[in-house]
Amino acid sequence: MTLRSRAASLLREPLVHFMIAGALVFALLSGRAPDAGERRIVVNAEVVSRLLNRFTESFHRQPTPQEMDGLISDYVHEQVYYREALRLGLDKDDEIVVRRMRNKMIAIATNDAEAATPSDADLQKLLDKDPGRYAREPKVTFAQLYLGADSPAARAAARDALVALRQGGDATRYAQAAPINPRYEAADADSIGATFGDAFALALRKLPRGGWTGPVTSGLGLHLVRVDAVIAARPPTVDEARQQLANDWHEANVRKAEEEAYRKIVEGYDVVIEQPK
């Protein structure tokens, strides 16, 4: 759990959020300590509906009347303790309060970014920045005949098998049994790499089309290969890569928001790090 997502979960404590954010603004704008608020705790319709919503969101049902009473009573307890604690100045120099405030600030700074929805133009921009990352992998349709580990005997078998195949004959007697398919239909580089190794996936794309060739080396040994079709890599449309783009955009956006907010705030401060003498 990163600081960011912890901050985000804190922010979903709406009540606390409301109180602290309010106090925070007040403090920052007026330049004095948060006020403990008036010594009158009102449970009005707004408070009740907030408690109700929070409960419903958590439990996917309405609270029973008894539960609602419990929520209200708990709210009052919380307010009493909270305001009294503020009145006593218990928030001052408390490491936890300091850390939670910091998290709140981060949460406030990043909440917009956390919830933001990228437009298609945003995603297109991200896509254009690094088309390689989102490129639809090239797909290859090919047949292969596996000859086993690279050895002089396997190379000899490869020569004979190649002759047979080029004459349109049957070469299965040269094949080593293995749990791989004789033919792959529009397979992407990842799945070819998972079975044969990445170098083989790469080599396939450079082979001539339509005829048997080889031997080609893979992580498994030697193969004869016939590449029937290669669907070239191409930059995807935003729609095709939407999920990955949105996840990346979201991650980068939140990080940027956090860094920017810090930069803007720290501009207003003199930070002095004294060197030990």
Partner: protein, 631 residues
């Protein structure tokens, strides 16, 4: 003035949160509706981890894990992430699927304690743990070790798991979790499952289960992870699973793990009270738990030398893990072992079926990591350890399993293991779940070996020529199935074909492990070497195939594929078949010797290690069995 404007802007921004959030969810869930075509039969194997913990797990956070589900998912998909110890981590090869299985018990509780105001922590134990955690990583490990200790003695302070607070916390974490998992689930490319761990224990004896859902968020959001506190047996879990399926129309299964740390309780011959197991009990277990996790970081549960004295390859990853139960609170007696290992459980299943008519232990097998640092790693040359306290460092190979705590184990006893291999018809939640359900799965200790295994009545050597996979499905059954339709005096024949990891070590041999039960109700086992490399030179002597050799260079942590074979295949007919006896057959594939993770560390950090620390291993794959039942 400028500062005021910033604050105002920040606050304004937050007001838009809700509407924006909904849009994101819609956009993403809309995407996951894409139709993925399933192939006629499984054409490729999908690799994954069904058992990963993030910072939401009560112990993982204590161990120092600060990476949540999002980082875990990004890492599994092949993205680089920064580990909790500040190191850059990346998988050389992405996984095809992932189950984040955080502990339901105390979900988020350690984090809540860490974040709590110290003033309000009145319980002296909780306050001590709070202070330790705030001291830094060492203190945090200490606190977590003490928590685990307390858990094993049922002495956890009540405040840590206050039911009402826990419920609300769990709700929040679970709902957030579902959203995150959904954003990374990409049918056809990467499957992110919903799941959790049901951490059932009896005084430190491990009865843990991972629970995995087949369904999408619409169904899974209707329930919450189930807390096992105060339970002794899995019955409540099975009730919960039944309830989920009934109320939502969805599907869910459970995968027991670390039988090796259960002190014989995982695979008992009796019912919980010690009385005979009933057919109904056996049926209930089999229905909910189609597979078992056979290997992981905390040791391997396939076989134990005490139980299988004639199997010279039994005892991989058992040393150290077989002395005590999970929490080191109770020593393991020799009599406990039979209920703690998978091969013995498969045999017990046959005996029970012969007696009560139902086999409770007719399960398949997978491997997984059980990593607690959000990083699913099972490769010895890129192993990130069980938890942040043992992420790569010069001391981790000589540290305790939980540094600073007497966990009863040394960290070098950790295995860089394992992964789940699934023969599914597509990379989707439904297709992978269904393959696990029908047990068409196997486990490896990390290497991505491809293994096919079919049983039938008329397979011949010639079947390996040409399209034998089709033949396997058409005329036989794949791993995990029942072999039926026996006629006359014929013996079952099996097609087995294994292929090395394309970036890994060659194979030493392929074995078929047979278990059976005789008319007197006694079980037996035998390991058959079926096909091995250099068969012409490696002639069996005294019933054993000679060792493959050893090319490991410890000074550089390398090995050479100059021995072994990249691919081994054979058609094998049981020479000792008796149609009157129940039997199972599963495949074990052994690699040639390779350096273990400790050896890679030793080279990387220039370590001098004592000779008692093992430095080499023969990694392996275990398939689900094929069962024969007399008609």
């Amino acid at each position: 003035m400028r500062r005021k404007a910033i604050i105002a802007a920040l606050l304004l921004g937050s007001a838009f949160s809700l509407s924006g959030c909904d849009k994101i969810k819609q956009a993403v869930s809309g995407k996951s509706e894409i139709k993925v075509v399933e192939t006629e039969f499984p054409e490729r194997v999908f690799w994954g981890d069904t058992h990963l913990h993030t910072a939401n797990s009560v112990d993982a956070f204590g161990f120092g894990n600060r990476l949540g589900p999002e980082e875990a998912l990004r890492f599994a998909r092949g993205e680089e992430v920064t580990s909790s110890t500040g190191q850059k981590a990346k998988l050389a090869r992405p996984l095809d699927f992932l189950v984040i299985a955080d502990h339901a018990e105390g979900l988020g509780a350690t984090k809540a304690l860490y974040d709590a105001p110290r003033l309000l922590i009145t319980d002296p134990t909780l306050r001590r743990w709070y202070d330790l955690m705030h001291q830094g990583p060492k203190g945090s490990l200490q606190a977590t070790g003490e928590m685990l200790q307390a858990r094993s003695q049922n002495k956890l302070p009540a405040g840590l798991n206050d039911p009402a607070k826990a419920l609300e916390r769990t709700r929040k974490i679970w709902n957030d979790h579902l959203d995150t998992v959904d954003r990374y689930n990409e049918p056809g490319k990467f499957t992110a499952f919903f799941g959790f761990e049901y951490t059932l224990m009896q005084g430190g004896n491990n009865l843990h289960r991972n629970v995995i859902f087949r369904d999408n968020k619409d169904r899974v959001a209707k329930i919450m992870p189930l807390d096992p506190t105060n339970e002794l047996w899995p019955d409540k879990l099975w009730d919960y699973m039944d309830g989920y399926e009934k109320s939502t129309g969805g599907k869910v299964l459970a995968i027991p793990h670390n039988a090796n740390l259960s002190n014989g309780l995982m695979f008992m011959m009796t019912d919980p009270s010690g009385g005979p197991m009933t057919a109904a009990q056996a049926r209930r277990r089999a229905a909910h738990e189609p597979v078992v996790e056979i290997t992981q970081i905390k040791g391997d549960s396939e076989a134990h030398p005490f139980l299988s004295p004639n199997d010279e390859f039994a005892g991989y990853g058992t040393a150290g893990w077989d002395l005590n139960n999970l929490l080191n609170s109770q020593p393991t007696k020799p009599g406990d072992l039979a209920g703690s290992y998978v091969r013995e459980a498969l045999k017990r299943g046959l005996i029970l079926e012969q007696t009560i008519g139902v086999n409770p232990y007719k399960f398949g097998v997978i491997g997984s990591t059980d990593s607690h640092n959000s990083l699913s790693t099972a490769d010895d040359n890129n192993f990130w350890g069980k938890h942040p306290g043992v992420e790569p460092s010069p001391t981790r190979s000589t540290d305790g399993f939980v540094p600073g705590i007497n966990s009863g184990r040394m960290n070098w006893q950790s295995l860089a293991s394992g992964y789940a291999a699934v023969w599914a018809r597509a990379n989707t939640r439904t297709a992978i779940f269904d393959a696990i359900q029908r047990r068409e799965v196997y486990g490896t200790t990390g290497p991505r070996m491809t293994v096919r295994f079919f049983g039938g009545w008329d397979f011949k050597g010639d079947d390996l020529r040409g399209d034998w996979v089709h033949a396997g499905y058409r005329r036989g059954v794949p791993m995990g199935s029942d072999l039926s339709g026996h006629k006359g005096a014929g013996a079952p024949s099996f097609i087995v074909s294994a292929l090395k990891d394309p970036v890994g070590a060659n194979l030493d041999r392929v074995q078929i492990v047979k278990g059976w039960v005789d008319k007197g109700g006694k079980s037996h086992e035998k390991v058959f070497d079926v096909v091995w490399s250099d068969m012409a030179k490696r002639k069996p002597a005294g019933g054993k195939v000679p060792a493959v050799g050893d090319t490991v260079d410890l000074t550089r942590a390398t090995y050479a594929n100059s021995i072994g074979a990249p691919s081994l295949a054979s058609v094998w007919t049981d020479p000792e078949f008796d149609p009157a006896m129940r039997a199972f057959y599963y495949v074990r594939v052994l690699e040639i010797p390779t350096p273990n993770w400790v050896s890679y560390d030793a080279v990387k950090y220039h370590l001098t290690l004592t000779p008692d620390i093992p430095r080499k291993q023969q990694e392996r794959a275990y398939t689900s069995a094929i069962w024969y039942t007399p008609s």
